[in-house]
Symmetry: C2
Subunit: 341 residues, 2 copies
C-alpha cells in the first residue's frame, strides 16, 4: 500500500507510491511511447482492465463491448480503496495509509476521438458520468476531496493515448484547493460577495481576457496566468457544487468545453494539456466530523482549470512557486477568440 | 517592461513577460536543441553578452577572456533593473512593474564541465560568486527576495547547454518561500526549536533517508519527497543566512555539492535537474520598512533543494498541489549512498 506523507516545511501531503513505481535503474531508460500497440480501453479488450465500476451502454453485459462511456479502477492505483487511514505520527512527521480511490473514465470507444471531435451530447454524457462517480464516492466518509482531471498527450503525463479522464478520491484536501477555499472565504468575509463572481463581473466588463461567454458559462484567460493559454471556465452564477450543474446547464457546459478545446486544437496544433475540476471538498453523505476545509465549501465557486503544456520553462517553479509566463493572457484570449474553427 | 500580477484566488504573484516570449504561432513548432552551434558563454564571445557585472579572472580586461567565473545580465530578462515598482490596483487585482534583476552566473569557461567535473575549489569559487552577487543585490531596497537556481538539461528548462546558474531578484517573496517561513516560525513559537534542526536530528537518528553527512552539512531525501531522488541539503547548525557560510564551511559545502552531483550523475545517467537555494528573504542593507516575511527571516534555516526531472507525471500537480511519487525517499537515499563513484 502507498503512504500518504505530510511535509512539515511545505505543509502538503504527498503520495509515496513506491509499489507503483520504477526501480531507480529504470529512470536511465528514456520512456518510449508505444505506437499502434495493444489498447486496454478499446472495444473487445474489456477483460484486460479491472472489472468495470460503471458504464453507459447501449447493449452488452458488464465488461463487454457496447458501452459509450466506461469507468474502471486504475490498474496501477496511487491510492487503494480497502482499509483504514491509520493516521499516525512518525517522530515530528505525519502519515496515513494510502487509502482512496483511483478510477479511469474511458471517454468513448474511439481510440482517437477527443473533446473537439465528440458531439456536445456525448460530452454531456461524459459529464454525467463524472457526476455519477462523484456522487457515489461522496458517500465514503474517509474521503475529503475528489479530484477530476485529465492528462492529454504524453508530455502532459498521459501514459495511454486512448482518451480518458481520471478521478482520485483522497483523504486530505490538496493544498491548491485549500488556498482557494481560504481566499474565497476571506473575500466573502470582507466583501460579502464571492471572489469568483466579482472576477467574472470584472472580466466581462473588461472583455480583453474573455475567450467566450454563454448564458451560463464564461471562459477566461486568468489575469495572473501562470502558463501561456491557461484557461478558467466557471459558471456565471454562483455555485459551490458541480453536482448541481444538470439538465440544460450541463448541456451548456458540454458545448462550452467542445468550443474551447476546438479553439485550443486549432490555435496550437493539438497541444498537450491538463485539465482539473476545482470543486468544493467532499462533505460526504453522512459527515460525522467535517474537516476545516469542508466548513468553507459553501463559499467556493467551482470552476475548471485548463493548462496547455507549451513551455519547458517550468522547472524551478516547483522549487519556488514563482512563474514566468511569456504570453500575456490578453494575447492568448484574443488569439483564441479570433481563431477560425 | 514585464508585469508582476497577483492571483487573488491562488494568492501568488506571476511574471507576465510577454516581450520575452513567443508569439502564439511559435508554440506550434517543436523546439529544437541547437547542437554544436555558437555559444555566447564560451571564451572569445564575451562581447556577445550584455556587459559583465562581475568576474573572477586571472587575466584580461572586462568582457574579454581570462575569467574563471563570470556574471552577466540575462539577455532576455524576466525582470528589469530600471524603474519604480508603481504598485497599483486593477479593479480587484493587484499589479506592479516587472522590476528586479535577472543575472546569469557562467560557472566556468568549459562548455561541458559541470558540478561533478569541477574541483571542489572551483565550486567554492562559484559559491563565493553567488554570495558576492547576493550581497550586492541585498543593497537594493526594492528587492524582497533573491532566488539562486539552476536548470540543467533542456527538460529542466535550460536553453543554453554551457553550465550556468541564474539569480533573480524580485520585489515580492515567492509563495513557496513564504510557506516555509511561516512553518518554521510556527514551529519555533510552538517548540522554541527550529523545525529544520529538528528534522535533521530525526533524520540522522533514523539514517534511512540520509545520503551523506559531513561535519557541517547533511544531504537527505525528504520524508515527503514530491519527486524521485529529490534532495535537501542543509547546514547541520542553525543558520538563516547563506551569506554566513564562509571559509572552511563553504569549502565543505563545495565538497558536499560535488559529491552529491557525482552520485546523481552516476546513479541516473546525468539526469536533467533543477536546484534552488532556499534562503531567508532579503532584508536589504537599509530597510526602511521590512515586509511581513522579512520579519520571519531569523527563524529560517537555509537549505538547497535539488529536483531531478525524471518523471513526466507532473502535469496535474500544477492544478492541484498534489504529488504522486513513485520512488520512496528511503530507496532513493539507499541507491545514492551505495552507488559506486
Amino acid at each position: 500500500m502507498s503512504d500518504l506523507r505530510h511535509d512539515p516545511i511545505q505543509r502538503r501531503w504527498v503520495i509515496i507510491a513506491a509499489e507503483r513505481g520504477q526501480r531507480p535503474s529504470e529512470f536511465k531508460l528514456a520512456p518510449e511511447e508505444k505506437k499502434g500497440g495493444f489498447c486496454p480501453f478499446c472495444y473487445g479488450n474489456e477483460h484486460t482492465t479491472p472489472p468495470e465500476i460503471f458504464a453507459l451502454r447501449q447493449e452488452g453485459a458488464r465488461d463487454t463491448s457496447g458501452w459509450g462511456v466506461r469507468v474502471v479502477p486504475n490498474k496501477f492505483p496511487a491510492l487503494r480503496i480497502e482499509g483504514g487511514l491509520n493516521r499516525t505520527g512518525v517522530g515530528l512527521y505525519d502519515r496515513m495509509n494510502g487509502i482512496g480511490a483511483h478510477e479511469v473514465v474511458i471517454e468513448s470507444p474511439s481510440h482517437t476521438d477527443c473533446f473537439p471531435d465528440f458531439a456536445a451530447d456525448h460530452i454531456d454524457r461524459i459529464l454525467s458520468v463524472y457526476q455519477a462517480r462523484l456522487n457515489d464516492l461522496n458517500g465514503d466518509q474517509r474521503f475529503r476531496y475528489l479530484l477530476v482531471f485529465k492528462n492529454h498527450g504524453s508530455i502532459a503525463g498521459a501514459s495511454l493515448t486512448h482518451p480518458h479522464t481520471q478521478i482520485i478520491a483522497t483523504p486530505i484536501t490538496p493544498r491548491t484547493v485549500a488556498v482557494e477555499l481560504q481566499s474565497m472565504k476571506d473575500h466573502y468575509m470582507f466583501k460579502e460577495r464571492c471572489l469568483v463572481c466579482d472576477i467574472i463581473a470584472q472580466e466581462l466588463d473588461a472583455g480583453v481576457r474573455v475567450v467566450s461567454a454563454t448564458e451560463d458559462f464564461v471562459v477566461i484567460a486568468p489575469y495572473a496566468s501562470r502558463f501561456p493559454f491557461e484557461l478558467f471556465i466557471a459558471p456565471r452564477r454562483h455555485a459551490h457544487d458541480f453536482l448541481t450543474c444538470e439538465g440544460g446547464m450541463r448541456q451548456g457546459l458540454a458545448a462550452t468545453l467542445k468550443d474551447t478545446f476546438t479553439r485550443l486544437r486549432a490555435s496550437l496544433n493539438d497541444p498537450p494539456y491538463n485539465f482539473v475540476f476545482h470543486i468544493a471538498p467532499s462533505i460526504g453523505n453522512q459527515p460525522h466530523r467535517p474537516g476545516y476545509w469542508q466548513t468553507l465549501a459553501y463559499d467556493f465557486h467551482w470552476h475548471i482549470e485548463i493548462i496547455p503544456r507549451l513551455t519547458k520553462m517550468a522547472g524551478f517553479e516547483w522549487g519556488t512557486g514563482f512563474y514566468i509566463n511569456p504570453t500575456s493572457p490578453e494575447e492568448a484570449a484574443k488569439y483564441l477568440r479570433e481563431v477560425e474553427i
